[in-house]
Symmetry: C2
Subunit: 185 residues, 2 copies
């Protein structure tokens, strides 16, 4: 049971964003800019960062939702699973491995992001902006994971819920859902 009264038909982050719409606005906007805005990282690569961080924070709602989004964007259901298991051996470029490593360090602690990890990313072709965005996306998902689990919001078990949510955030992005939209329908 959630720690605060959240609408039963809006599990996970969806009910939280409706609980306080004024704070939800900039959270949605920041996510839209970072995950769907102009970037030299693909949307799929950015969803891999979101999925990896959520997985390491053991946030089941966010991990499942962003894995669904990554799968759609990457066009397969293996890459994201392999990234979560061990990004070093996953079928992604050396640049993405190095950025995922930075994201994993951010998840532990900002102080853990070493000059060496950043050098490896730069040597693999990552730009300053890509490094900046990786750090900020990883930090944003730590916010999400702590928000979702810190309020004990509901985590659906039905895979159909996440399939629909993944489709929604790959098609419409992170903007507000239409009034009366029901994730479970």
């Amino acid at each position: 049971m959630p720690h605060i009264p959240l609408e039963a038909h809006l599990p996970g982050i969806t009910g939280l964003l409706e609980y306080r719409p004024d704070s939800a606005g900039p959270i949605r906007e920041l996510t839209q800019i970072l995950l769907r805005g102009e970037s030299t990282l693909t949307e799929g690569e950015r969803e891999l960062i979101a999925s990896l961080v959520s997985h390491r924070n053991e946030c089941r709602f966010c991990t499942t939702a962003h894995t669904a989004a990554a799968n759609i964007l990457l066009g397969d259901t293996e890459t994201c699973e392999l990234v979560k298991q061990d990004y070093e051996s996953a079928p992604v470029s050396d640049k993405i491995k190095a950025l995922l490593h930075i994201a994993a360090l951010v998840q532990q602690s900002g102080q853990d992001v070493s000059a060496e990890a950043v050098s490896l990313a730069k040597d693999a072709g990552a730009t300053d902006r890509e490094i900046h965005d990786t750090v900020l996306i990883a930090a944003l998902f730590c916010l999400y994971n702590k928000y979702v689990d810190g309020t004990a919001s509901v985590t659906p078990t039905d895979p159909a819920f996440y399939a629909k949510l993944g489709e929604r955030i790959t098609t419409n992005g992170y903007n507000r859902l239409p009034q009366g939209y029901n994730h479970l329908k």
Copy 2:
């Protein structure tokens, strides 16, 4: 040295918010809403949450800046120090102690926020909205701490810098600084 090129006269979060102004907009707005917007928690109490979380994440820049803000808002320089050392024995109400405890749990992990910790807060008079805001403020400061330290942004050692920044964020809030504003002048 920062991991990415940040303006030397803008240390800590200040240079990061100028590095990517489009993502900075919603970060500033969210902070302004949560820390300065309408609330039954005072601005000083909310800065205590920010200071405690930053302290536990060992983010020296954010801890020092928000301690300066809390000191100004609370009108003393002891309370925030005592909260960071041990909020259970600090000179704050039982409600604030219980909310600071929730914030400390969020800093560790969202999953650590127990029904018991939430019950204690409710028994001490905390509202659902105060509990929600405490979780979200704590999660937001985890984002800040990871962003500031994950990019290795500069941490000034001059106390005058933080005194000025603390004054700025208690007077003007978290909105964008005027063009050409120099924290060190």
